[in-house]
């Protein structure tokens, strides 16, 4: 399990990050200036229309892409590339197809050169955490989408990642499986207290999962709203309070999809 440490240093600190891509002869400004601090253990959802740069921001935090300017620090340590302190969960799973469920989950511990028995034990523990004991020796192509995503989540948790970066992880799943995985993710979060940064374009999903929702606006990508959600958990999606939050998020989101009107400042 990741360490549970409370400290004044934010788990994720983003300072002055911008990103420009070269496109043909010109340049596209994908991200304007982003400043952001996420506390340890927070569940943060990042919502925005497609193309607003939310995935780019996530990929910069993951270390897959370098920001044009600015820097990102995890638990006070500036990042220099992909690292095992952050775990990315991709929409298309990115499991290693030649490894069984257990081998996929044990991949991180194996890279740390832990003794074989210890790798086995960690893999078994996380296979159990996501309820895949019966499928432990299957290959990814023998799994459903929901099971694949459970493996992907277990894989980063087994690697002791203190920060989970999730890029529309449930976007490709059917509604029932998605609901179930949302519930399971909340259980896992409650149990491990990892910090989660979760990209989605679903207002409903953000309202259900997050402590805090960041609304992004496009052209260039900026954080246009920062909303705390303090509904009690487990959340009742049919309650008037939940609906109010959902309506509020939807209103803020659509106001930013239309050409920028009332831009709120980031606190």
């Amino acid at each position: 399990m990741p360490d549970i440490r409370r400290s004044s240093v934010p788990q994720v600190a983003i300072r002055g990050v911008t990103k420009r891509f070269a496109v043909g002869d010109g340049e596209v400004e994908a991200l304007g200036r982003i400043d952001l601090a996420i506390e340890q253990g927070q569940f943060v959802c990042l919502i925005g229309a497609s193309g607003c740069g939310k995935s780019t921001l996530l990929r910069i935090i993951a270390g897959f892409e370098e920001p044009t300017s600015g820097d990102v620090a995890i638990a006070g340590k500036p990042i220099t590339g992909p690292g095992s302190d952050r775990g990315m969960v991709f929409q298309d799973y990115a499991l290693f197809p030649w490894m069984t469920v257990k081998q996929n989950i044990g991949f991180g511990p194996r890279q740390r050169q832990l003794p074989r028995g210890e790798v086995e034990a960690i893999a078994a523990e996380y296979v159990k955490l996501v309820g895949l004991e019966a499928a432990a020796n299957r290959y990814p192509n023998q799994l459903s989408g929901g099971m694949k995503q459970r493996v992907a989540i277990a894989r980063v948790l087994a690697n002791n990642a203190g920060t989970l970066l999730m890029d529309e992880p449930f976007g490709a799943l059917d509604a029932l499986t998605r609901e179930q995985l949302q519930r399971e993710l909340l259980q896992i979060w409650a149990r491990t207290r990892v910090t989660i940064l979760f990209v989605t374009h679903s207002v409903e999903e953000a309202a259900l999962l997050a402590d805090r929702v960041l609304v992004m606006s496009a052209g260039p990508g900026r954080i246009a709203g920062d909303i705390a959600i303090d509904l009690p958990r487990p959340r009742d999606v049919s309650s008037p309070e939940f609906n109010a939050v959902r309506r509020d998020l939807a209103r803020r989101l659509t106001s930013h999809i239309a050409p920028a009107r009332n831009l709120e400042t980031v606190d």
Partner: protein, 289 residues
Amino acid sequence: MSEQVTALPDATSQAAPDVPSAARRRGRARETIRAVALGAGFPLVLILLWDRAVAMTGTRLVPSPHAVAVMMYDFAFGGIYDDAFSATIFTHIWKSMTRVYGGFFLAALIAIPLGLMIGRVKFLRQLLDPTVNVLRPIPVTAWLPLSMIFFGLGPNAAIFLVFLGAFYPILLNTIFGVRSVDVRLFEAAAMLGCKGSAMFREVVFPASLPSIFNGLRIAHGFAWILIVVGEMTGVPTGLGSVIMDGRTLSRTDLVVTGMIVIGVCGFITDRIIVAIGNRVLQWSPQHHA
């Protein structure tokens, strides 16, 4: 916790592979019999046509199937002609195999690591790709004179020619395999703490393995094709040299016998490679041949 998780299984998690019923097993057996009957029946028809054609034209230049069968028996067990070729089949097969697999494994040993690196490292790709593509269209037979100068008369020249023929299919398929790996897999491995040579060992190589196996299979076929050319370089034993001797002696029954033995050896060893591939690549659904 896990109880809660498993309390609501999604329908697909129950999809265990179902046990084949007796009826389905019978159906599959019938299918196998059918495949064998068709696959073996066609060459039998060809042999029949060959026999009729030789009989009707009365040619003495092409041997009849019967003459080849007699030669084959003598080649394998002796006791008919009792000449230099009687009962020598295994010597020739063994010699040819040492050259086929000498060249083939040498090619695999060099082409796979090289292909992995060319596929992954841009500098090497820019450095080597044009050269590879200039050398590749040169027919292996064109190397024959040079290979005899480099390696002299003997088995090494044969191994070199087989190596050349097997090298490019393995190299190109390996490069293609690396280039077509989903970039996300490299990202996923990097974020899990995999780097440097471990990345090659743990991700690049296994991810490219389906394509590498395709290359190995094609190269293995070329290796058997090239054995005749390779053994033209003046080696006394080997299936290729048997065919060359048959040509010199105008013994077409010997030539055809050598041809058939090469074909059968190539077929059986190809089946073995496919079986190994299916075993190693059981994770890859598109690879079962």
